[in-house]
Amino acid sequence: MDDLYRDYILEHYKRPQNFGELDPHDLEGLEHNPLCGDELGVHIRVKDDRIEDLRFHGHGCAISQASASIASEELKGMSLAEVGELDADWMIELLGIPVSATRRKCALLNLKVVKGAVTGDNAWPE
């Protein structure tokens, strides 16, 4: 068993959840990982100040794609205020694998784009 590329990570990479377009949508964002040029965008539909539905689109490595896929299920139904409070630890714990310093941005790209779309603050999550 590989520490990083566990079966569920590869499963999410090969068949990511909630990927595609969502039209119409209320919020959207698009971010790049400057390290590799990878690109991840999101469409979010909002109802009663909560994320009703969302879809990611773009391309990236197994870590970034699996992170987005795994996060997407958790983000659905979350209030916008809660999304604004999410931090890097939330994502890393959710991912459940040891992420090295150089791959941290891969894991956090989806949270950066979602928080950017929701709060307008697209700083790298800390």
Binding site: L4, L10, C36, G37
Partner: protein
Amino acid sequence: MPPVAERTLDVRADFPILAREPGQDPLIYLDSGATSQKPGLVIEAQADHLRRHNANVHRGVYPLAQEADAAFEGARRRIADFTGAEQRGTIFTKNATEAINLVAYAWGRANIGPGDAVLITQMEHHANIVPWQILCAERGAELRYLELDERGELSLEALEQELARGDVRLVAFAHVSNVLGTINPVAEMTARVREAGAISLIDGAQAVPQMPVDLAQIGADFYVWTGHKALGPTGIGVLHGRVELLDQMPPFLTGGDMIASVDLEGSTWNELPWKFEAGTPAVAEAVGLAAAVDYLSTLGMEHVRAHELALTEYMLEGLAGVPGLKVVGPPEAASRGALASFTLEGLHPHDIAELLGREGVCVRAGHHCAQPLMRCLGVGATARASLGVYNERADIDALVAALHHSREIFGL
């Protein structure tokens, strides 16, 4: 002596980093395009200068200062000799990026204006794009790109057509592409640029470390490269410029060492090459780089090229056996430098680099500071294996084995 093509170099013992302690992970270093490893004698030359000859340059009259002067200016002479350049036109910079910026600011601001065009190519490193973008935006000039063909090569006809438009003042291009590996026909290109009355700048960062470079034969107006990719230290780069042009240019960075005299109202500039070397230069690094080029000259650059060409052929064969792997750039080794950038279906370059790294195989993944080229190739990123004179067939075998292994981990 056997013919060049049959000789292989065995220089691994010259590179201390390759002599790993037993029990340590093996080091299969395939990232020389990013930075080269250093021979022990380069490390020693730099250390010896600091231990025994260190003083500021161009200042002191005491014997130690004269030793430092002799070491620094001697390094310039050896480096200029290595590339067939004039000493007066050989300027030390921090790296190739700073050398290009020097030309863009000092030559560009004085010579580029509204209605003029700067021509670069789709295969350039960001270092040979961004300074021209800024210059053109500032001066109201146009920045145009020479396109690549499906082999990842430039066409001389396309260059001629661009030059025929009559507005091109400067053409800047890589000698060897850091992504495609393409070796450009630099002498043919500079000849056409010269005929059109324009100025040429060549980014030789990937060429100087791996093939004979004779600037007298290439005929560029400006040629830049960097020390750390050529077995030398970081923090030292080189600009070779045509002396008549450099003489006419205003300075770039200003301050100490680059002046002839300073009074309250103004200053006059030092003569070449010091006019372009403001502040205390990287003296020990220049000494280290001179040791590196002496080392390369002893090996013989034609032998370095032959060694790396044979390995590149071997690498392309090995990579061709990995299912789903696609190499970008010219298909045959003879048309490219000693590197291969590739994509692998079902495996992102970052994951490739991570998995290979665990087996001690060091490759680069990403856009290689060439995002316009990546868009042109239609890929977000590639993995890149680039060779140095210290690589051997076993390194390629390890690369190919690790790629097969990575595919297995991903269930491909």
